[in-house]
Symmetry: C2
Subunit: 242 residues, 2 copies
DNA sequence: CACTATTTTGACGGATCGTCATTTTAAGTC
DNA sequence: GACTTAAAATGACGATCCGTCAAAATAGTG
């Protein structure tokens, strides 16, 4: 009885097609640009069929976000296997994050939309959990490296500081930095010409601030970024499918 | 002929009323929550009258953002007058930023919506300029303090680093941090219990990283935060009108 | 008061989301 | 292949909401 699994596969394929069609529409025109009527006319499926997959527009959007978060997790996992000092491994994650943003430059627009309460509240508990899960696992990877750095003695956290606090710092700076980069229209006016390089250096300043050894004055972490980009993600750079 | 100025005043007052009514609607339900039909029914003005003030919904939303950005600029300006070392003055700005977020917790939701291209593109050039202007002036204040720190010799920027780069770092971390704080639903799950305190400490780590004297190990900048909150903004804490 | 300019009004056109009764397709059985 | 039944697809439709504009109301002026 292969009927069941064939249907499942067809379901899967159709879902992929819907998302494939919806993504450029959303990227182009945001929440309002994703037009359900136009989506049905572009696809070979009717309204009702699409609504069998996604109970509302918001469900499509959150699924678009989940698709790229999945990619990011995979990239973080790959980067976390990089062999080196604990601080080099953090740099490897940084490289992964930067590469992710550059590969999926529209991810932040989607995520920004999703995070708005008005959208978030209309999505299913199931997909929300899924999305949070991908996020938490990314954070978990960073936390693991921080704890590793502490246990190896590369970084000493005082009485009040926790690994989570350091993760929160890195998270804040990357979230804010990439948000500014991808949504701000006038960076050059503000004297910010090479934002990615700047952001990297600022990460290093933060890590220098907690004396995470070896300091950026001793090691050229830009070289680590380059190595990771080449060695770990070299093959990923050619293929840029969503 | 006081007719003209009376009309101007009436116009002003009506605009204020419209925004006053629109704000809670937007905060409650976001872009879709701000319903133009409901807005007219709640106000004593009709559709057409409202559209005499704002050419579209997006114009109302960006004006809501401008209103609070105006408040933030005023707070930054006030904080920048704080007497102390250059690093204490940065801390004073940090206190202002934190107070701003706590006073107008919904600002980031509005700003997040505005920054989405699909909304941004529908707003008038005039109001966009206005909004950018408030933002740039806030950034300018921080830049001024950084340059002051450099000229006083409190912080030494190497060959490659620029004041703008340091500003970008502080900007990224605050933008990201406050965004996470105001829109994330599960901070405690991630071991982040006192996010504002954490963020402050992370600012200090970043500034320690560039060796901005005196370091946070020498001076208790939390005390500066408290002083600024009390001395500079003490009277602001009672009145919490928008 | 009469005439004109300006402002206000709200009904309406157009667009879009999500539903659901109906039709079509597919599966199972003899 | 014919018949029955279950499942899935369809798209017309109701409901909602944005922005417009011709008509009505109001204010200004001599």
């Amino acid at each position: 009885m292969s009927t069941r699994e064939r249907k499942q596969r067809e379901m899967q394929e159709r879902e992929a097609k819907i998302l494939e069609c919806a993504r450029p529409m959303f990227i182009e025109g945001g929440y309002n640009g994703l037009n359900m009527d136009r989506l049905t006319s572009l696809l070979e499926y009717s309204k009702g069929t699409i609504y069998n997959h996604f109970s509302c527009k918001e469900e499509i959007i959150i699924t678009l976000a989940i698709q790229t978060l999945e990619k990011r997790l995979a990239m973080f996992q790959k980067a976390s296997l990089f062999q080196g000092t604990s601080r080099e491994r953090i740099a490897a994650i940084g490289a992964a994050a930067e590469l992710f943003v550059k590969t999926y430059p529209d991810h932040f627009c989607v995520e920004q939309t999703i995070r708005l309460d008005s959208i978030w509240d209309k999505t299913s508990e199931e997909r929300r959990k899924l999305m949070s899960n991908y996020e938490h696992r990314c954070i978990g990877i960073v936390g693991g490296i921080v704890r590793d750095g502490v246990s190896r003695g590369d970084v000493i956290l005082g009485n009040s500081a926790t690994p989570e606090e350091i993760v929160f710092g890195l998270w804040s700076m990357s979230m804010g930095g990439y948000s500014i980069i991808t949504t701000s229209n006038s960076l050059s006016e503000l004297g910010i010409s090479e934002p990615y390089e700047m952001l990297r250096r600022n990460f290093n300043r933060f890590l220098d601030g907690i004396q995470w050894q070896p300091l950026s004055t001793e090691v050229d972490y830009d070289a680590v970024y380059d190595r990771v980009t080449r060695e770990v993600f070299g093959n990923e750079l050619q293929q840029n499918t969503v």
